[in-house]
Point group: C2
Chain length 372, copies 2
DNA sequence: CTGTTAGCGCTTTCAC
DNA sequence: GTGAAAGCGCTAACAG
């Protein structure tokens, strides 16, 4: 496009400046003195080619700087090495790490990644799906917002892997975090320290992620025989500021709260600020825990006790599933894999100021989904 | 790929389960009762089509669920809506924000983004460039590691925008941060507070980014009449751990240091840890500043005084340059734009314990590159 | 304003 | 093991 303009003025019919058509497989064939079909076979490895000829072709390719045109290849072979990745917000380190894990594994498997952000909006998500269809990705990985995009992709035969959460009623492959387990464990950690009035700060419970965390929180309380107080489940929006205000309001209303569980990293940020602004000491005045471990959580003081979701591993697992699915080595049915989170205990949790009597936990607290 | 397998068993010759060939422009033409070329014109907007026919085509497209195959379109028209983005490590929030800014602007301009990470390795970078060439991206944005990838892209006529730093001797478009200016301002801030023994923690000075920061640091000292002490420029690797050790060693060696300037966010992380591990109070015992502002820097106490690079804006500017370049509205020559950083003063900086006599700054300290 | 023709660069039968 | 021929789905000439 741009280069062409140059051609006009400084046309020194020499090496550069000219639009210089890229070598095609025809050129390569000519250079290696064989037919295009043989060249194709030599490069792609499909079909028979004598070792001698293959070497010659490879050398010639290097020589003339031949790079196969994957557009043409895709058109003809009806496949592509592109995988679509549709995520909510790459600015959020959670998604960034997810994307990084995906890209890493996919790249090493010879695929490349088309990333589209949807900012959590269903329309943008559908638009992204349309793009994926247009460029004929061979699979898609999506952190779903609504079911529309996933449905659209699937109905066109594109294998999709849902990441982090599952949209109802769709039987695609998926890789999820065991939210119930993680939330239960970290809540139990608080319970074990003696907390009985534990608030959960959460932005949504419609997705499997939020629902699971809520369920885990409840399960831990139930297991400890602590009655559920609905007023301790604090709804908020998916933004630090909103979370900060929500926590502030909660503490005005319920000064008896001794521990706070933020359901994700953004809410944790807001909660952390709210506590600091109020001049509350953590963990002396209030214990704080969060779902989703980020670097800053170990940099602040006190370090925050969290549930580490192993996000990069989540991403790599998604990518692996995609690769297997494309290769056809996955069974026909949808496979769902769970990543087991682990809790990281730091300094933001301690026994409450006036400890309640520690409650014995029920022996059997198994409630999480069965792992893969 | 995957869907096909289903066809065998549960073959209810009905609506789904079958491979169901995607509608082509032929199908669309048939449905709208016109020729393929007219359908093409109606969709792409190139050439004349009566309003009546266009409406009919659009309706038919909606009706049969036609999505243009951009593979075929690209092959024929020798253009694509794909832009390659080649960055070092999307896990690093700096690059994540850069990518987010790029994606945002590009998406709204109708392009999609192919992201490849190179982990700072030149070979991986070249591999990424090869991918871009293969899929015929219409432009590329790269945070260059070596000159090879950029050179390769450019020699094939792909417009490239270098982001954040510039590789020597290549005249591509670029968007850079005014590193000299930012580093000078923040160093001067320390000087103004009375610091005279300011260490710079830096991982590289080969790229324009590191070189600029070093130059800004030096310019500020020079302007203040403070002699350069080479031992205060502390080299380290691009990792928090390495930075932590480097700071530790520095402070063993030079207890007289009163302020520390970390040249990027990773080094800042290491520096912050080192200071905490040593039990030093910031800013009472030592002031700390950093280049590149990240959320955690305002969450820790004390909040860290930083240079905000406006990374998302940097990304958007790169994308805009790409769009303009593709549209041909940019001049023939390479254009370089600078982003003006701003310094964010928080609580990690204060006068040194035993303040030196504040030094009057020279009146004219203009040394930065001239802005765009 | 619309239709016809040709061909982008590659892979894939199908002969040999 | 290799080559010849056909065509993926689309759009750019060119007629009409």
């Amino acid at each position: 496009m741009v280069g062409k303009r140059e051609g006009g003025g400084e046309g020194r019919a020499g090496t550069r400046a000219s639009p210089r058509r890229r070598p095609t497989i025809q050129d390569l064939a000519r250079a290696a003195d064989i037919s295009p079909s043989t060249a194709s076979r030599a490069l792609s490895g499909n079909g028979y080619v004598s070792a001698e000829v293959r070497a010659r072709v490879l050398a010639a390719a290097e020589e003339i700087g031949y790079v196969p045109d994957s557009i043409a290849r895709s058109l003809r072979s009806r496949t592509s090495r592109a995988v679509g990745v549709l995520i909510s917000d790459i600015r959020n380190p959670f998604y960034a790490n997810l994307a990084a894990g995906i890209e890493e594994r996919l790249r090493s498997a010879g695929y490349h990644v088309i990333v589209v952000n949807n900012d959590g909006e269903a329309d943008a998500e559908v638009e992204g799906a349309r793009t994926f269809l247009a460029v004929r990705v061979s699979a898609a990985i999506v952190t779903p917002v609504s079911d529309r995009a996933v449905r659209m992709l699937m109905s066109d035969g594109v294998p999709v892997v849902q990441a982090d959460r599952l949209v109802d009623g769709l039987s695609s492959d998926a890789v999820l975090v065991d939210n119930v387990q993680g939330a239960q464990e970290i809540t139990s950690h608080l319970v074990d320290l003696g907390h009985r009035t534990i608030a959960l700060l959460i932005d949504e419970t419609d997705w499997t992620s939020g629902a699971g965390r809520l369920a885990g929180y409840r399960a831990a309380l139930r297991a400890a025989g602590i009655p559920m107080d609905p007023a301790l489940v604090v709804p908020t929006r998916f933004q630090p500021d909103a979370a900060r205000e929500a926590v502030d309001a909660l503490l005005d209303r319920r000064p008896d709260v001794t521990a706070l569980f933020a359901a994700n990293n953004l809410l944790a940020e807001g909660a952390f600020q709210a506590l600091r602004l109020r001049g509350l000491r953590v963990p002396e005045d209030l214990s704080l825990v969060a779902f989703d471990d980020l670097p800053w959580m170990s940099m602040v003081s006190p370090g925050i006790t969290t549930v580490d979701q192993h996000t990069a591993e989540l991403g790599r697992t998604c990518a692996q599933l995609v690769v297997d699915r494309i290769a056809g080595s996955e069974s026909g049915e949808a496979t769902v894999r769970y990543i087991e989170p682990s809790i990281v205990i730091r300094s933001s949790t301690a026994a409450p100021r006036e400890p309640s009597v520690p409650v014995a936990r029920a022996a059997s607290t198994q409630v999480g989904p069965v792992t893969s």
